[in-house]
Symmetry: C4
Subunit: 209 residues, 4 copies
């Protein structure tokens, strides 16, 4: 095997592992949906399946799933431009995966406290926004690292202007996460909606890859 | 790496992620099987393992597993014909995976309310049929998209007739899901049987791929 | 892409999906280990971690993990000889995966009822042996199918004698599963030991591949 | 397919399966985080999310995730040097995966008993250190096996000196695991910190690969 081929196989195994974490974290979310207990269904199963508590769970499930799936799409776009994975990129990626694999927990918290309203709902929304914001920061740091003039990690090196512009796009994205953190103190529902919008925004691929 | 090779690697990572979700959703189903509690086993473990409630769980487990596995087989046949994945196909696929990863929840609901009979069992069967129907609709939309005359997404472009005929096959499949939705109001057991039959029908590959 | 390459990519995605189910089923086993409750630890955590109930759980966990991992090794040896996957092989493989993904449930049952001894322990051991036996039968059917003179599925076609001999090896293996079913009525512990021995026996690769 | 290509495909499927176990074990850790119950949140959700019990859970989650992810990185470095996987290496790897997939259990135990302090916390820390130490021993045994002069398993055979030196590095690593076992009797928190440090130490790649 040529050196380049070994490198490519290693990068491919690396993204394969990341894909696994993304796929599992997304699929585990369903485990946090709790069926209505027999006691709650005096009004019929249908209304129990669509009461406020269950709808919170569905909404949190769907938004977190979309966030993970679309983060994965962008992770894919990202690594499609990467020729070689160095140790720092590996460590940043491990932190990204740690953050990502934690996501089902704040999702559960948000689903549970959203229907309560008041301070606890705001706290849950803030707690939910934190790992999202960290994800944005790590992604930005990863891009900062690979887009450095002398990184040699990209398949096609960027010009100074391209590097600066693409970095601005990433930093711009981080602003929205900051807004989400602040919004948590206003409305938990709005945080959930913003995260869904953010996921869809990223689905339209700011990097144009 | 040539452009085509990059494309192929990207498509392959794309289906790899989907495969992961399919495999995990199928395997998580087992977590919803609840062992008979010690209190219930006064008549012996054997009868407790095969009472009405447990058999409902096994049946729902097996049918959902077959549905997921055979949907995967057809997903594989589908993407075997696809040369390139564009953004719309990606988004449709994300929705398919969202729907699919939700499946363990209605499976649990059906397993729990099937033995009750009556309205709740019908509701549970309807609730179970909905994501199945959505799956059929998304698959049809995916095929509609890639089989368009100018999509350029298929490895081997279809003639007008082939495109029309294959689309009819997909729409025909959707009819059965509609029947399943209606059947839910008649018999929950029949819904489970129909879904098993549908899965086996699709196992014999209507697309002939 | 040449036809053969498409075929190989399809087979590779096929085994990838199977690998996923194997890996997930094996890793989910840990979820059935229940920590000793605070109430049980009056004698200290150490003795609570190694009381009869916990040791049953560890033993059932380890044996089931070994069975799944070593079945996977043989699945790998099997598909290493397979050039092409046809529909019947696909369906047999789906049934194998269905059976395999069910395994965490009888594992939990066995772990829970093993310390009870008596009839319930025997029942649990029998219930545990059934999916193991089915796995042996499906594997044999898969080999029967691919080793047929005219299957064209193997990379290197077998002579009549090789086919017959290898089939006998598979049938011989099934005998041991029958023994396990009978042994369940004698001793649940012996069943667990036999399954561990069987797994290790298969680890030494009866097919010589 | 040439012989070497078959070999490479087999090795690649082998590491793919291992990657799956690593990824799943890491992602399942989140299931052991228990949300504060509604009853505990009289002081507000925020303080309930950051009380001593929850922080223990986060710390154990993060350390175990890092250990698994970084063990995976080294597993990747390891197999990057391996040309061929023989049966003994396969079996050692199965044992490594068995040990690894068990890890979420002692993690849960440690998270649960760490806030108690006293003997139970020490016991939990010891119980947590054991599978870590076993992992180090198995890794050392794997390296011992492939680095043998006549193994023929490495892509690039080692000189006598290289083999001896690299083995010493592995044995040196095992020493730290021994220290962790002893440290458990002094302080459970220190064990957690040491494991985090060890993971980060290995992240800087003692093999220099």
């Amino acid at each position: 095997m040529a050196e380049a081929e070994v490198e490519r196989a290693a990068t491919s195994r690396f993204v394969g592992f990341s894909d696994g974490i993304f796929a599992i974290a997304a699929t585990l979310l369903v485990l946090d949906l709790s069926p209505p207990s027999h006691l709650d269904t005096s009004g019929g199963l249908w209304s129990a399946l669509f009461d406020k508590a269950e709808i919170s769970e569905y909404a949190a499930f769907a938004v977190s799933f979309l966030v993970i799936a679309i983060t994965w799409i962008n992770h894919r776009s990202f690594f499609r431009q990467v020729a070689r994975v160095d140790r720092r990129l590996t460590l940043l990626n491990v932190l990204l995966l740690l953050d990502l694999s934690f996501l089902p927990f704040p999702t559960r918290i948000l689903a549970e406290y959203l229907p309560d309203g008041g301070t606890n709902a705001h706290t849950a929304a803030f707690f939910y926004s934190v790992p999202m914001a960290i994800m944005g920061v790590i992604f930005t740091a990863m891009w900062w690292h690979v887009s450095a003039a002398d990184s040699g990690l990209l398949i096609k090196a960027l010009s100074r202007d391209e590097a600066r512009n693409s970095r601005l796009v990433f930093c711009g994205g981080c602003l929205f996460y900051l807004i989400s953190l602040g919004l948590a103190f206003v409305s938990a529902e709005a945080v959930l909606a913003l995260q869904a919008v953010l996921a869809l925004y990223y689905a339209f691929d700011p990097l144009g890859t």
